[in-house]
């Protein structure tokens, strides 16, 4: 750097500043991942040792995992959560990309006003819509089934439309004009040109949709009967907490089992995920 000489007189200060800086960073990290480390440590402890403060357990056991798996009917919970999250994701990807495609490339009267209206709905708290939706699903006879948890995803969503539209607008219109000259319909341009080219944005939306559905507690509490065979992971965990209040080693094993898939998924797609969040803040 050309102006590096300016920093020289304060070199000693810099060392101290750096030490403080790394100390703060490590303290922050400790607070952020402490609960996760504590969870893993406890999940490996023998039930009697759960109050032992040691981080590395004296005696390591894997029994908690098999106990948790059986007590919690995990296969039902995981399957229910997975089914709902997968269907929600598919619904969001299809319908949001359809809407976003139109908002990005088709000129029609009132487009801008409609798009602003759509974005404005992002500020409406979900509680404003939850009661009528509950009544509609109940009237349709879907109360107690998983349908109310994934069907709404098939009606688009302002966030997904916004995210994909931003991406679609970076695709040159020449591609579309050429395809139109060849007589391609809008439907096939959406499916054959825009969707394949927008893979990164679709991936980002897929992750958002999957994770928010996988972690959703409120909707599952409202619509699903609270037994371990019919409900989702978040509700299952909170039921388990009530039933086995003091069985901390088993409970931490259950928590560990439930967060592992999402953590692995996140590890692989963190770049798109973080870019997606950053995109909502600046633009």
């Amino acid at each position: 750097m050309s102006n590096a000489h300016l920093l020289k007189p304060t070199f000693g200060n810099h060392m101290r500043e750096n030490a403080i800086f790394y100390a703060l960073l490590l303290l922050g990290t400790f607070i952020m991942i402490g609960p996760f480390v504590w969870m893993m440590s406890t999940a490996l402890k023998v039930p009697g040792d759960q109050f032992d403060q040691r981080l590395i357990p004296q005696e390591i056991t894997l029994d908690n995992f098999s106990n948790a798996w059986q007590l919690m009917e995990f296969r039902h919970l995981v399957w229910n959560s997975f089914k709902i999250a997968a269907l929600s994701t598919i619904g969001q990807l299809i319908t949001c990309s359809m809407g976003a495609f139109v908002f990005a490339v088709v000129k029609f009267r009132g487009r801008e006003a409609l798009f602003v209206l759509l974005l404005a709905t992002l500020m409406i708290p979900a509680q404003m819509t939850v009661i009528p939706q509950f009544l509609i699903f109940r009237w349709l006879g879907l109360y107690g089934t998983a349908a109310p948890l994934y069907l709404p995803a098939f009606l688009g969503g302002a966030f997904g439309v916004f995210l994909l539209r931003q991406y679609f607008r970076t695709i040159p219109m020449d591609l579309m004009d050429a395809a139109r000259l060849d007589g391609a319909s809008l439907l096939s341009i959406w499916w054959r040109i825009y969707l394949p080219l927008a893979r990164p944005a679709l991936a980002a939306l897929a992750i958002f949709a999957f994770m928010s559905s996988w972690n959703d507690l409120f909707t599952a509490l409202i619509y699903l009967p609270s037994d371990l065979e019919k409900t989702t992971l978040p509700v299952g965990l909170s039921l388990f907490q009530r039933l086995y209040r003091a069985e901390w080693t088993i409970m931490m094993a259950a928590v560990l089992i439930s967060v592992t898939p999402i953590m692995i998924a996140f590890f692989f797609v963190q770049r798109q995920f973080i870019a997606g969040i950053a995109m909502t803040g600046v633009k």
Binding site: N3, L6, F21, L25, T29, M32, P35, F36, W38, M39, Q50, I94, C96, G99, V102, V105, V106, R111, E112, V116, L117, L119, M123, I124, P125, Q127, M128, T129, V130, I131, P132, L135, L155, G156, G157, F162, L186, L187, W190, S212, N215, L217, F218, L221, L233, P234, S238, W248, M251, M252, V259, I262, M263, F266, I274, I277, A278, T280, G281, V282
Partner: protein, 306 residues
Amino acid sequence: MTFLPNIRLECGVMQVDGMTPKGRERFWTGVLLTPTMLGLGLGVLGSIFATLWLGFYDWDLFTAPEWVGLENYTDLPGDRRFMQSLRVTTLFSAIYVPGTVILSIAIALLLNRHVVGKSLFRLFFFLPVVTSPVAVGLVWSWIYSRDQGLLNNMLSTVGMDPVYWLGRDMALYSVVVVNIWGAVGEGMIIFLAGLQAIPKNLYEAAMLDGASRSKQFWRITLPLLIPSIFFQVILSTINAFQAFDYVYVLTSTQGGGSTMPTLVFNLYREGFKFFRMGDAAAQAVVLAGIIMVLTLIYNQLQKRWG
């Protein structure tokens, strides 16, 4: 997680371009737009009107709805549970919003420097954002546990009395801490994006003029971060008024109540446990009204400062 694109800026860059549909293309435009329009019309706008309308009725789902006019609203100030949830949520927001914003900025500043293993640190701070609040909430419920929890064990080793962290006196503060812990990762990303948008040559010029580090922060970094700060304040306010998951996991009591009943917890109970649909609708309207008014105030302030 709630997401809210910056609408004000978005409108500024919007261009009227694209192709004009002809013939069958008009048909396909309609088809492609249908789900989004149904979702907007039926799922959101229709539901909002339905909620407003339901607020004028007394309805338990089983007997016929009865028109009561504004009674559901006028009853709210005398409703002990609602007023308590309003107090709790207001106090919660007053701690949560500044806490989240300030800590997120601090972390973003720390990670915006040259750091060994930067992306790993970023991952650590971000972890609570992607994991289920119920799952990590359970870990916290143990950390806070009265008889066997980590915190009280630590207190007892230094000879102090155990604290009832999730009891009525402390629950609010304990739950705020967990909510902030769960949200700083998201705020950090927003502020890192904001920091990276600041032109580097401003700092070079300031350094040549001999401006100190703190002066650079107050004169360059902070003023240019103001749009991100407003964005994050609005986002945090919305999240604070909608707090539910950690509250449910950490503070639910045997009788179905809570030691820290927030507005949404109370709404959940009124509407979906007691099936008092009219009351719940009125409370939803009040909640939306509060969020809307606060957002408008922030927007006005941003116009003046931004």
